[in-house]
């Protein structure tokens, strides 16, 4: 028989027994929906956690530091510094997509009466662009000729009124500063600053008067979105492009050591600027561990979210399996329902099957007819079940959102929808297999027994 004819015949015989077909399909609908919804809960939890990890430094990023594992006997030469050489070496690894040196420095920012200690992190423009900061205003400082800052969303909260001593964390007053437009002055040479401060209020301890260091006006590139209360890994940092930053620092500290930079044995600064950290982005989550180990083996300290991700994945894998298992029970019940329906149908159609055999229907075609019928029950049930699942998922997420939680609890990805329909068809055909064999083996004699 032609496939088209087989399909038509099996559909028409399902159509002939509408009520029973609908009831059997309903079983599959419930089975599919319960599996999909259960698995979607596991996936939703997993995804929420992954997003959380992503926001806390990403799934593919690796931080590299100087190894803290050296003692006084380690000669200065042996010390593994983070320099441009290392950046180049790491960049050459095929699994590394992006490498950026990170230079950080603590400074004091002043704006009117407000003061704040800022942690400035200089990174390459490429890396800054890659971080995907959500911006409240302005832009990411990509320009390499001017130094401009991108403020984290909680920076504003850190400004304290130096006269009244009040601040956001003390009494909840929001500092009256517009980061984007107000003039903010930055003092890079903190040592000199505090020395000079000590002088002013001093009791004349006899120390030579120290001139207060120069203040530099800060150019604002942008402010990261998120409000004062939301903490993310970037909330407390000020970002800028490393190229103008290096130039700027070299100019300010001409002939002196830049704070945080190592000194030679004689107390002199090195010519080269050493980085505090190197930021590495692997091309894929799968390669993070490999790249991380490679860098560690070179003698550096590294950190990534791999272990966190791995343990989370494992944990949610179990949850998914348990939830899916609970859902599977109802699909098994539905499968038994299909088998039962097909059996009934065969008993009812013994004569019809016999006639078909007598007038020349292949045994294989009879089997195919019944398998297709069962498969159709699975297909329809699976499709309706998926629709139903999306509905339930929507309701669950509404309820969760209504409770004020900022997460998608139930998440149905396309693959889950597709796989569950395929699975439902498979379950249908598997349940129809024995009935189909039975139909195939029915004696054609049954047809011509008079009755």
């Amino acid at each position: 028989m032609r496939i088209g004819d087989l399909l038509l015949m099996s559909i028409s015989s399902l159509w002939k027994r509408k009520v029973r077909t609908v009831l059997t399909v309903l079983g599959v609908v419930i089975g599919t929906a319960s599996i999909v919804v259960m698995v979607s809960l596991g996936l939703g939890l997993n995804r929420s956690t992954m997003q959380n990890i992503e926001e806390n430094g990403g799934l593919t990023s690796i931080q590299v530091w100087e190894s803290g594992n050296f003692d006084s006997e380690t000669s200065d030469k042996d010390r593994k510094r983070l320099d441009d050489e290392l950046v180049k070496t790491i960049a050459a690894n095929p699994h590394v997509e992006l490498v950026s040196p990170v230079l950080s420095i603590s400074v004091l920012a002043k704006c009117g009466a407000y003061e704040n200690n800022l942690d400035i992190r200089g990174m390459s423009g490429e890396a800054l662009a890659r971080m995907n900061f959500p911006l409240a205003s302005g832009e990411v400082p990509l320009a390499e000729d001017t130094l401009a800052f991108l403020y984290g969303n909680q920076i504003l909260a850190g400004f304290m009124n130096s006269r009244t001593g009040s601040g956001y964390w003390m009494d909840g007053t929001i500092p009256d500063i517009d980061l984007q437009n107000d003039a903010i002055f930055i003092i890079y040479d903190m040592d000199s600053y505090y020395n000079s401060q000590g002088n002013q209020g001093g009791s004349g301890a006899g120390a030579a008067a120290v001139k207060p260091p120069k203040k530099y006006i800060a150019q604002c590139a942008g402010v990261i979105d998120g409000g004062l209360e939301t903490y993310k890994s970037y909330s407390w940092s000020v970002y800028c492009n490393i190229v103008p930053m290096e130039a700027h620092l070299k100019r300010i500290f001409r002939g002196k050591a830049i704070p945080g930079q190592p000194l030679t044995a004689t107390g002199k600064p090195y010519k080269e600027i050493y980085y505090n950290e190197i930021y590495v982005e692997a091309d894929d989550m799968e390669h993070v561990a490999e790249v991380q180990k490679w860098i560690t083996d070179m003698g550096y300290q590294t950190s990534s979210n791999t272990e966190w991700v791995d343990s989370t994945k494992k944990q949610y894998g179990y949850i998914q399996a348990v939830l899916g298992g609970i859902g599977a029970v109802s699909l098994i019940v539905a499968a038994i329902g299909i088998t039962n329906t097909m059996m009934m149908s065969i008993y009812e159609r013994t004569k019809e099957i016999g006639v078909m055999k007598v007038i020349g229907c292949d045994m294989r075609d009879i089997r195919s007819l019944f398998l297709l019928e069962a498969g159709f029950i699975g297909l329809i049930g699976g499709l309706v079940g998926i629709g139903f699942s999306f509905l339930i998922s929507l309701v669950i997420n509404r309820i969760v959102a209504g409770m004020g939680m900022e997460m998608t609890l139930s998440y149905i990805p396309a693959w889950l929808a597709g796989a569950s329909v395929v699975f439902a068809v498979f379950v249908g055909m598997a349940s129809g297999f024995f009935p189909a064999l039975r139909a195939m083996r029915l004696s054609p004699l049954a047809a011509i027994r008079r009755g």
Partner: protein, 232 residues
Amino acid sequence: MKKDKTVITVSDLYKIYRVGETKVRALNGVDFSINRGEFCSIVGASGSGKSTLLNMLAGLEKPTKGEIVIAGEHMEKKSENGLVRFRQAHIGFIFQSFNLMDTMNAIENVALPLTFQGMDRRTRTRKAEQMLDMVGLTKYKKHKPTQMSGGQQQRVGVARALVVEPEIIFADEPTGNLDSRTSREVMELMQRVVREKKQTLIMVTHDNELAGFADRIFHIRDGKILKIEEKT
């Protein structure tokens, strides 16, 4: 009548059923042969073994012993799939209770054997319509079995048996569910069509009058052929 080529040869055929401890001999040594283009009736009382004989000729039942050769092929040696394929190619079947598919109209019912053969829709519909024209149901092509009288339904049954252009047609009490006038009509139709197309028709019946339409009448009793009546 003129002797044609033999199309069916049955030799030494036995069918023994085991009912509990006792053996029932449904067929107890049957030998005969049928020629191409012949119309034969098998007549006997209920339980005489006539239906068993027909079932075995059509390959629906396996004999306990003996040979059935149809169109040169041994039926008793075929697998079930082999029998299906043989029936597709060589055999048409007319049932007592018509056994039409309720969900299908007359054309679809007649075309069903062609559907099983894998013929495309257009060709099989054309052939089915020709057959329906031939059995006089031109006006009823789109009717479902439930919308037709018994006689009309059996005409559809006849058309379905003939649509594959089989060499042999088996009819099992084809008029058993019809009144006598309609029975005659159906019998005349079968007789006419089979003669026109030179097909072999084997009919089982318990009605001596209807058996009289045949060229040869096999009388069967207690699993044996009592006599073969030849009409001239």
